[in-house]
C-alpha cells in the first residue's frame, strides 16, 4: 500500500504550547527554514501515522489574522492558498477569550479545523474549568483537551485530525455572526465578491474589506474596483451608525462573540491559593526589587557561560591542536600543508571552539528563560531604557544575546515588529561586545592595564551604544512603535523543546558562520604564504602607525580579526613573539588597540547575518561606518590619553 500524504498546520497565539505539540508530533523529523523570500521562520516536520505520511507546518505564533505583521499575512495566505487538510488551532485554556478571538478568524477562513485546548492544567490552577463538550457545540468544531508538556491528548488530537479528513465531509463550524447592521452590509459585498476569482472565501473578503484590510483591498482593487468603492461607502455608513470606525466595530463584535462563548463554556472558581507564579511575577516586575533581581540573574548567566565557555574552549583547542603534528606528518609543512591546516582546519577549529562552548549554553539558558516567561518581564523593565534609542523593551533581548555572540543576536532581531526596528536593533547589537571581544578586553586591558580600565571600556561601550543608537534612530525615517506584549504566566519550561530550539539555532549558526570563517581563513593564510602580509601592513601604516600610534604589524592582526575578533589577540601574540604584551606595548597603545578591535568591524559571520537579514547594501553601510567610527575613535582616544598621562 502506498502511503497517502496529508498536510496539517498548527496555528495559534504565541506561548500557547504550539511548539511543544509540534515537537511531540514530529520528533526529530523537523526542518526549519524560512518562508520563501521572507525572514519569517517556517518550521516543518513529518510523521507517519495510520498509513499516512503527515506533513506538519508550525505557523508563527500570532494574535490575529490581519495584516499588522508579516507573520500574520503569511499565515493567512498559507491557510487560504495552500489549503492544509486540517488546521489544528492550539488554544490556551487559561486565556480562553483572547484565544477564541483568533479561532473565530480561522473559522471565517472556512478551513477544516480542530481545537487543541492546551494548558488545561494551568487553567485549573487559575480556577478556570472548561466544559469541552459545550465549547465544541458552541463552535461547531471538535475540541480535544491537551496538556502538551506532559504529552496528554496529543494522540487523540491526531486521531481526530485523521477522522475529519477521512470523513471528507465539510466541517460545519458555526458561522461567525455580527450585528444586524454589519451583517446586512457583509451580505451585500459578499454577493459582489462571489463574482470574482479569489483565494479567500467571499464572505471573508467582504468582512476584511469592511475592516479596511490593506492586502485584500489592494488585490480586489485590481479585479473589480467597484467592490472597493461600495465597501468604502458601506463602511462609512457603519461608522456613522456606531460612532467608531468600521474596523473597530467589527473587531469589537468579534471579541464580543469570543467573550460570550468563553463565558458560556468556562466556569470560574476562586483558585485554592495565590499561586507561586503570581508572587514570582510581582517580585520580578517590582519597581525596585525587579532591577537587582534582573542584574543578578543576568550576571549569573553570563558568569557561568563565560566560565564554562573559557574552560571548554581551551580543552577543545588543546584537543584539536594535538592533532597538528600528526597532520603535518601526512601533509608536510610546505605550502599545501600550511594551507590545509592553517586555512581550512583552523577555520573549523575556530568555529567549533566558539559554537560549542559559548553558543550552545547561551541558547539553552536563553530559551529556558524565554519559555519560563522571564524574558518578557525583562523586556517590561527595560522598555523605558530602550525607548531612549528608539526601540522598545523587546529589543533588550537581542542586545543581551549580543553579549554572547552577535550572529544569533542579529537573527534574534526578528522579534521586532517593523523592518525599521529590526535594522535599528541589529545595528545596535553589532556594537555589543560579544564573547570574543570580551576575551580581548579582559585578556589585554584587564590583564596588562588594570581591571578597572577594562570595566571602564564596558561602560564606554554602553555609552557608544546609546549615542550611536540614538543617532541611527534620529536618522532612520519612520516613527517608533511602542511595546504591546503579553506576559504569560510563569511556567516550567519544557526541556525537550528548549534543547530542540537550541539545536536548530546551532545548525543555523553553523550554516551561516562556518563557510565564511573557513573561506576567510584560507584567504588570509594564502596571503601569508604568498608573503603579502608585510606589504599590507606597510600599506596600512598611515592609519595604524601615524593615526593610531600602534606598531605596524597590528594592521595584520586587525585583518585577522575580521574572521573572529579574538584572533586579533592571538595574532598579536604570534607576531610580537610574546604573550607578555606589557613588554612591547604601552598601556595607552593597549587601550587604543582594544578600542579599535571592539568597534572596527562586525566579524565576517555577523556581516553575513546582516546581509541575510537586510541585504548587502545595508550590511555594507553598517560595516563601513563602523570601520570609520572605530578608527576615528582610536585616534582621538590616543591623543586624549597621551594628554592626560
Amino acid at each position: 500500500m502506498t502511503e497517502r500524504k496529508l498536510v496539517i498546520a498548527l496555528a495559534g497565539n504565541a506561548n500557547v504550547g504550539k511548539s511543544v505539540i509540534f515537537n511531540y508530533l514530529t520528533g526529530l523529523h523537523q526542518h526549519i527554514g524560512n518562508w520563501p523570500g521572507k525572514t519569517v521562520e517556517r518550521a516543518e516536520g513529518t510523521l507517519h501515522f495510520k498509513g499516512y505520511t503527515i506533513d506538519i507546518i508550525d505557523l508563527p505564533g500570532i494574535y490575529s489574522l490581519s495584516t499588522y505583521s508579516l507573520e500574520e499575512l503569511i499565515s493567512r495566505k498559507y491557510i487560504a492558498v495552500e489549503r492544509p487538510d486540517v488546521v489544528i488551532n492550539v488554544v490556551d485554556a487559561s486565556v480562553l477569550e483572547r484565544n477564541l478571538f483568533f479561532t473565530l478568524q480561522l473559522m471565517e477562513l472556512e478551513t477544516p479545523m480542530i481545537i487543541a485546548l492546551n494548558q488545561m492544567d494551568i487553567a485549573k490552577k487559575k480556577g478556570i474549568e472548561i466544559d469541552t463538550e459545550k465549547l465544541e457545540k458552541l463552535l461547531g468544531i471538535p475540541v480535544i483537551s491537551t496538556v502538551a508538556i506532559k504529552g496528554v491528548g496529543i494522540f487523540k488530537l491526531l486521531e481526530k485530525a485523521i477522522e475529519i479528513i477521512e470523513k471528507g465531509e465539510k466541517a460545519k463550524p458555526v458561522e461567525v455572526k455580527y450585528g444586524e447592521e454589519v451583517e446586512d452590509r457583509i451580505a451585500r459585498i459578499t454577493k459582489m465578491v462571489e463574482k470574482i476569482q479569489f483565494w479567500y472565501p467571499p464572505r471573508y473578503v467582504a468582512v476584511k474589506l469592511l475592516e479596511g484590510d490593506e492586502e485584500i483591498s489592494k488585490e480586489v482593487q485590481g479585479m473589480d474596483p467597484t467592490i472597493i468603492s461600495t465597501a468604502e461607502k458601506l463602511a462609512a455608513e457603519i461608522e456613522k451608525l456606531h460612532g467608531h470606525s468600521c474596523s473597530t466595530v467589527i473587531t469589537s463584535e468579534r471579541y464580543e462573540i469570543a467573550g460570550c462563548i468563553a463565558r458560556e463554556a468556562q466556569k470560574l472558581v476562586p483558585p485554592i491559593k495565590a499561586p507561586i507564579e503570581e508572587r514570582l511575577h510581582t517580585l520580578t516586575t517590582h519597581k525596585i526589587l525587579g532591577y537587582p533581581i534582573m542584574a543578578v540573574s543576568l550576571l549569573l548567566v553570563f558568569y557561568s557561560i563565560f566560565t564554562f565557555g573559557d574552560h571548554t574552549s581551551e580543552l577543545l583547542s588543546n584537543f584539536f591542536y594535538g592533532w597538528e603534528p600528526i597532520f603535518a606528518s601526512i601533509f608536510g609543512i610546505e605550502i599545501v600543508g600550511k594551507l590545509v591546516w592553517g586555512g581550512i582546519i583552523e577555520g573549523v577549529i575556530a568555529g567549533v571552539t566558539i559554537a560549542l562552548p559559548y553558543i550552545v549554553p547561551f541558547y539553552i539558558i536563553l530559551y529556558f528563560l524565554e519559555d519560563s516567561g522571564y524574558l518578557s518581564r525583562i523586556a517590561f523593565l527595560m522598555d523605558n531604557a530602550m525607548h531612549k534609542i528608539g526601540l522598545h523593551g523587546k529589543a533588550f533581548i537581542p542586545i543581551m544575546l549580543g553579549y554572547g555572540c552577535n550572529v544569533p543576536a542579529c537573527l534574534g532581531c526578528r522579534i521586532m515588529e517593523t523592518e525599521r526596528e529590526r535594522l535599528l536593533a541589529a545595528f545596535v547589537t553589532t556594537l555589543v561586545p560579544c564573547a570574543a571581544r570580551t576575551v580581548i578586553i579582559l585578556g589585554l586591558v584587564g590583564e596588562f592595564v588594570g581591571i578597572q580600565w577594562a570595566l571602564m571600556l564596558y561602560v564606554f561601550d554602553l555609552l557608544v551604544i546609546f549615542a550611536l543608537g540614538r543617532l541611527a534612530f534620529r536618522t532612520l525615517p519612520g516613527e517608533p512603535t511602542a511595546l504591546i506584549m503579553e506576559m504569560h504566566d510563569y511556567r516550567v519550561p519544557h526541556p525537550k523543546t528548549v534543547l530542540k530550539q537550541t539545536w536548530f539555532r546551532l545548525a543555523e549558526f553553523i550554516k551561516i558562520a562556518f563557510p565564511l570563517i573557513i573561506i576567510g581563513s584560507l584567504a588570509i593564510k594564502l596571503a601569508e604564504v604568498l608573503g603579502l602580509l608585510e606589504p599590507i601592513a606597510t600599506a596600512l601604516s598611515p592609519v595604524t602607525v601615524v593615526w593610531l600610534g600602534l606598531p605596524a604589524i597590528t594592521g595584520i592582526t586587525l585583518i585577522f580579526g575580521v574572521l573572529r575578533k579574538e584572533l586579533t589577540l592571538i595574532m598579536l601574540a604570534t607576531l610580537l613573539g610574546t604573550t607578555n604584551f606589557a613588554q612591547v606595548l604601552t598601556p595607552v597603545q593597549i587601550i587604543v588597540f582594544t578600542l579599535v578591535a571592539m568597534f572596527y568591524i562586525p566579524c565576517i559571520a555577523t556581516i553575513t547575518a546582516l546581509v541575510r537579514e537586510f541585504g548587502w547594501k545595508k550590511a555594507l553601510f553598517i560595516t563601513v561606518s563602523e570601520i570609520v567610527f572605530a578608527i576615528s575613535l582610536g585616534g582621538v582616544a590616543l591623543r586624549l590619553l597621551t594628554l592626560t598621562t
Partner: protein
C-alpha cells in the same frame, strides 16, 4: 458594574492609579508619520482585546515612566506608555 449614577470621566489609561479599573471608550490613533502606522497601531491594540467597552485594570507601571502592566480579557499585557496615553477610559468607581 453599571455605574450610571457616578460621575463618568474620560481619561487616558495612564491616569489610572495602580489597581484601578476602567472601561475603554476610544483609542486615539496617531495618524501621519508617513508609514501609515495609525491603522496598524489601533488595530493591534484591538486585536489584543482593547476594544471599546472592554474593562481593563491597571496593575502597575514600571518605574521612570515605564510601560503599564494591565489586565484585559483574562490576559496580562505590557503596554508602552506612549501607547497607553492614547487609550481613553472611563474610570470605574467601586
Amino acid at each position: 458594574m453599571e455605574g450610571r449614577n457616578s460621575k463618568r470621566l474620560k481619561v487616558p489609561l495612564t491616569a489610572l492609579r495602580n489597581g484601578e479599573r476602567g472601561i475603554v471608550t476610544s483609542i486615539k490613533a496617531g495618524r501621519g508619520g508617513g508609514w501609515g502606522r495609525g491603522w496598524g497601531f489601533e488595530k493591534r491594540l484591538m486585536d489584543m482585546g482593547l476594544t471599546p467597552g472592554t474593562r481593563v485594570q491597571v496593575v502597575k507601571s514600571a518605574p521612570f515612566h515605564g510601560p503599564l502592566e494591565i489586565l484585559v480579557r483574562g490576559s496580562r499585557l505590557a503596554l508602552g506608555r506612549g501607547m497607553a496615553e492614547r487609550i481613553f477610559v472611563e474610570i470605574e468607581k467601586e
